[in-house]
């Protein structure tokens, strides 16, 4: 069984009409997959093994002045130790082979607090990362390459619509193969601000407000209740920051730093990156209440 890797090529392969009158297209590049009786089961297990929890909160929305994009920066990891069998044979001397039993732990730990989840595709387009970090980073960079090639070939920038369509088509061709990508493409083109949600199932939605990740329900709550189209850039960035903060507060898989980016007619600009721990005390300042000792002194005096 062969896996079609033609999606990884940047340039379409030359279709040569050889002596064959029927004009057969040459087979696309591919690699072998292991033989297995239950291929569907194998595929499901493989996907489960690599499936990260999409533990994150990202959001983006369009308002009067442009697009606001915000995200947290925590990367969480769940995993398990698998069976491994190794046998070492050195000529006459033999080393014992040993066997580790399969142990499945699903443990949850914070892999990093400083992941860049807002990816700069080009100076006027941003992509957000949710799902597999490697998948998102690679395919966003690949999209950046395609956007630049489009610019060079057509002497004009690609639209946000076009860029999101390119990404969605690629992800669709890898559907069912275990990619985990839930991204938003935000940018400014000739038609104004653009925002699309694209995921690894091949879905692509145009919209004005999106939030993706495990913390998205919390972020939606704050975002939807505070949203107005006619906001200034400061109001919008404050709304975005607050929404991320609330999501990181309640969702264990989100945290770290709340980054806020703004995309306007001249391109994107990073507005702020605040540690959510500090934001907590900013929104809930500690009022210096009377200490126990002070209370006792007051009581004695009274």
């Amino acid at each position: 069984m062969k896996l079609d890797t033609s999606g990884l090529e940047s340039f379409p392969s030359l279709i040569l009409h050889g002596n064959d009158v029927a004009g057969e297209i040459s087979a696309p590049p591919s690699f072998d997959l292991p033989n297995s009786n239950d291929f569907d089961g194998f595929l499901k297990e493989a996907i489960q093994m690599v499936k990260p929890a999409k533990g994150t909160t990202t959001l983006a929305f369009i308002f009067k002045e442009g697009v606001m994009v915000a995200a947290d920066s925590r990367a969480s990891m769940g995993g398990y130790i698998c069976e491994c069998l190794s046998t070492l044979l050195f000529g006459t001397g033999r080393v014992l082979c040993y066997l580790l039993l399969i142990k499945q732990f699903f443990f949850f730990f914070i892999a990093s607090q400083s992941v860049k989840k807002i990816i700069e595709i080009n100076p006027y387009m941003l992509g957000t990362m949710a799902g597999g970090a490697a998948d998102c980073q690679f395919w966003h960079r690949n999209l950046g390459i395609k956007c630049r090639l489009h610019e060079l070939a057509n002497k004009r920038r690609i639209s946000v619509t076009g860029a999101s369509k390119l990404l969605a088509n690629i992800l669709y061709s890898y559907r069912g193969m275990g990619l985990s990508v839930g991204t938003m493409i935000a940018g400014w083109d000739e038609t104004g601000p653009g925002l699309y949600y694209v995921d690894s199932e091949g879905g692509r939605l145009k919209g004005t407000r999106f939030s993706v990740g495990s913390g998205s329900p919390y972020a939606y709550g704050v975002l939807d209740s505070g949203y107005k189209y006619d906001m200034s850039i400061e109001e919008a960035s404050e709304l975005a920051r607050r929404a991320i903060y609330h999501a990181t507060f309640r969702d264990g898989a989100s945290g770290g730093v709340a980054s806020v980016y703004y995309v306007g007619p001249t391109g994107w600009k990073k507005l702020s990156g605040d540690d959510v721990g500090e934001l907590h005390y900013h929104y809930n300042p500690v009022t210096p209440s009377t200490t126990v000792e002070q209370e006792m002194v007051d009581a004695a005096a009274a």
Partner: protein, 249 residues
């Protein structure tokens, strides 16, 4: 040089690809086609060999649509043209599907030229024996464009150009008489250029006008006859004016 003209992929010692040049010969034997770019429209005119009495003239349209805003006329092997036009039409829709936007005239010209070039560098195939004139409006800037491709796969933009039979004389005429025109004036210029090499009459010329609002419009025979009559009248008046002054002195 006979040894170097069999396989397309073989260069001759002095740097020629003979098959490509023979393809250009085929183009030179094809019917004349002219294209003129105006400020608000683009006009294509093609010589029509008189249709046989029993032939349905509507089935031999020589100016075709590639998309709502792009049209093409060609000179050379008509069967090759059909294949190229089909591929170009599919590419226009494919572009709309992947980028959710109509393609520019330059994009589709580049595609057609690329296709023509591919067939000059493959084994066992021959080049397409046609040169095309591609006209249209840029969907983003709204400006009209005229491009020409040829069997070697080169393309370039033109203000006015001709290809096919006697294209040199038509081009000379255009170089002498080209002005930035709009609307009906552009149509007249195109027809005047074509009349240099074609017997006058509406039934020997096929003309189509591409505008931004209405897309491609084929002119009726009667319309063409009317314009031809206008042109003849202007010519006659010019002749008379030339003859008159010497008598006055």
């Amino acid at each position: 040089m006979a040894r170097y003209d069999r396989a397309i992929t073989v260069f001759s010692p002095d740097g020629h690809l003979f098959q490509v040049e023979y393809a250009l010969e085929a183009v030179r034997k094809g019917n004349a086609a002219v294209g003129v770019r105006g400020t608000d429209n683009v006009v294509l005119g093609v010589e029509k060999k008189s249709t046989a009495k029993l032939q349905d003239s509507r089935s031999v349209r020589k100016i075709v649509n590639l998309d709502n805003h792009i049209a093409l006329a060609c000179a050379g092997l008509k069967a090759d043209a059909r294949v190229l036009i089909n591929r170009a039409r599919v590419e226009c829709q494919s572009h709309r599907l992947t980028v959710e936007d109509p393609c520019t005239v330059e994009y589709i010209t580049r595609y057609i030229a690329g296709l023509q070039q591919k067939y000059t560098q493959s084994g066992g195939v021959r080049p397409f024996g046609l040169s095309t004139l591609i006209v249209g409006f840029d969907p983003y800037t709204g400006s009209p464009s005229l491009y020409q491709t040829d069997p070697s796969g080169t393309f370039s933009a033109w203000k006015a150009n001709a290809t096919g039979r006697n294209s040199n004389s038509i081009r000379e005429f255009l170089e002498k008489n080209f002005k930035e025109t709009a609307g009906q004036e552009t149509v007249k210029l195109a027809i005047r250029a074509l009349l240099e090499v074609v017997e006058s009459g509406g039934k020997n010329i096929e003309v189509a006008v591409m505008t931004k609002e209405d897309g491609l419009r084929q002119l009726e025979e009667a319309e063409i006859d009317a314009i031809v009559a206008e042109i003849e009248a202007e010519k006659a008046a010019a002749e008379a004016a030339k003859k008159a002054p010497p008598k006055d002195t």
